[in-house]
Symmetry: C2
Subunit: 353 residues, 2 copies
DNA sequence: CTGTTAGCGCGTTCAA
DNA sequence: TTGAACGCGCTAACAG
């Protein structure tokens, strides 16, 4: 393969036509005589023409607006990483005149999500990236987007057959399966397991957790017989209540020495352990929130499953950009790697270079 | 943060000078009066100027040649991935007029490496990426590069204090430590371990393996008392000899049920096990060669440590590009993530998006 | 020392 | 249906 770079002018010269005609052929803009078309086509078939991206970027006049409907965040949490990925993409594609607008909502708050969807559908966008936190509001929004032919991608959660350009996220079932395999690798007869569950209902987040749990249980059924499994429901925010619940639980079940949390809030358990100067033999959870990472480094959490939130945000914007700006087809599902992070490799982990 | 994009013309207008002067200030090209400089500086301090990368790319007239001194490869092996990463970077930076030349050598062959270094030093390059397989030849080459002020980066192996612009690779000690932790997670009293060693000598590859082994042993000392450890030396290529050695070993040591290989050639052991329809309780090795991945999917290898060869190649070229083309400072060490791959997450693993 | 100018390759007029 | 011409933002050469 040669590195010789052909320009439109080169092609025009080789074909014996003008640059404008070549451009028309390349972009299928019509108004080209059969004869000219053939001549240009012939040259294009023979050489390996790749347009100069810089010239394209420089000459681009069109402006695009992408709307991102994602949860609001605080420093160091999951959606902060997603945001950073989106911002990274924004900078990278800034020269293509892509403007990114955010419609943020309170995570887990249906009204706030609905509000965000409504605003987004009123606004005119060329593409939409969204974390479909609630099903009904999402479908409502999609209806409008579809009539306007505005493409959209889902990140983190999926709603199948909703017509998304692409879904970007993890295979939840398998990540649960892996979590079990890692967590229970040093299991010995007689030890017990506790699943720390959540009390949210009916949200895609809940569905995701359910799938992870399914995968987790699937591993246990396949590999571990008669294991005693406890369940403890934790509150999202009520630390005092959790303190009470966990205190009682651990007192009554000293053999429950493996713990699993199927969302980011494994720090709730980690913090409890830390406050009581206690450790489980194994505690696994999801996502590299600062709090989680810190607790893992201190030994209260033994493993975290990472799902590349930053990459999700980045890929989301990039998929929209490929489709809208470059009219390229994109794949319909992009599964993120299932990263296994432990105390020892967490320091080398990064999402971007 | 506003998205308003300032151009050099904007700055010139705001500062009351011409675009040329602004350019001189931006690039510290001198020949600017104090007064003009101050005016431009003031404007620059107030706004958030980011040059348009496309315009830079388009206007760039200079051509660069990078030489990559890396091992030759076959489809699906480690250095193939490195190559793909380099090629990815080549395509991405092609518009900056960077030409990539390869000086490939036979992996592990000092003469071939020496030959490649010699050719590279005779050729005139603007930057060099190399996998310093042999110390002396490398130092010889570096001497010449340094007199010519040609920057170079190391990938995969490092030679410390050799003046490399950047070293890109893994923290070998820690990756060994992690390998032990993963491998021995379900260790039970009485089980035995076998280390499959290599017989290469004095190469940076050997040093890397040594470091991994050190980390591995460090974990064992910290966490597992009186473990019986065997050592088996495998030949790189002589399959028949290995067959013999392994056959005898496993016959005599039925309790040696954990195995570790500190390089890519864990497939040597995996293949043996497969041929004898046998499995170890745990077998760990390095790198996602096709052969290794296949054996892991089939259950003969339990875990592989990945070190992102593709990303290494990509980052290597990118570092050179940042430094040579954009005159940017680059970090001196870029440790790759230590990826933990098992049967279940291997299918979702990828290096690039 | 400083302003002006001619491209870089492509998209997009506009006149022929 | 076609070719010529302009401009995107920046760099570098040149003329004052």
């Amino acid at each position: 393969m040669t590195d010789k770079k052909y320009t439109i002018k080169d092609i025009a010269r080789l074909a014996g036509v003008s640059a404008g005609t070549v451009d028309r052929v390349l972009h299928k803009r019509g108004d080209v005589s059969i004869k000219s078309f053939e001549k240009v086509k012939k040259v294009l078939d023979e050489i390996d023409y790749e347009p100069n991206v810089f010239a394209i970027g420089l000459a681009a006049k069109k402006h695009y607006t992408f709307i991102c409907i994602v949860p609001d965040f605080i420093e160091g949490d999951y959606w902060h990483s997603v945001y950073l990925g989106i911002e990274r993409a924004r900078k990278e594609f800034r020269s293509f005149n892509i403007e990114i607008k955010y419609q943020m909502f309170q995570h887990g708050n249906p009204d706030s999500f609905w509000e965000a969807c409504k605003k987004a559908s009123e606004d005119s966008a060329d593409a939409v990236l969204l974390a479909p936190n609630f099903r009904e509001s999402t479908l409502e929004l999609l209806k409008i987007l579809k009539t306007k032919h505005v493409p959209f991608v889902f990140i983190d959660f999926n709603i199948e057959d909703a017509g998304a350009l692409e879904y970007i996220g993890q295979d939840s079932f398998l990540s649960g399966f892996i979590a079990a395999k890692i967590l229970m690798s040093d299991y010995k007869q007689g030890e017990e397991l506790v699943l720390f569950l959540s009390d949210t209902k009916d949200s895609p987040a809940e569905i995701q957790m359910k799938r992870r749990l399914d995968g987790f249980m699937h591993y246990l059924h396949q590999n571990i017989g008669d294991l005693k499994i406890h369940e403890v429901v934790l509150d999202k925010v009520d630390v005092d209540r959790n303190e009470l619940v966990l205190g009682r639980f651990f007192q009554q079940n000293p053999d429950a020495t493996y713990g699993a949390v199927f969302n980011s809030r494994v720090y709730l358990v980690g913090d409890f352990l830390k406050n009581h100067a206690s450790k489980m033999k194994g505690l696994i959870g999801y996502d590299l929130l600062e709090k989680n990472v810190e607790l893992m480094k201190q030994g209260y959490i033994s493993c975290l499953i990472g799902q590349r939130p930053g990459l999700q945000g980045y890929c989301g914007v990039r998929a929209l950009c490929s489709n809208v700006v470059f009219k390229k087809q994109v794949q319909d599902t992009r599964y993120m790697p299932i990263d296994i992070l432990i105390k020892e490799n967490i320091d080398f982990y990064f999402e971007f270079v």
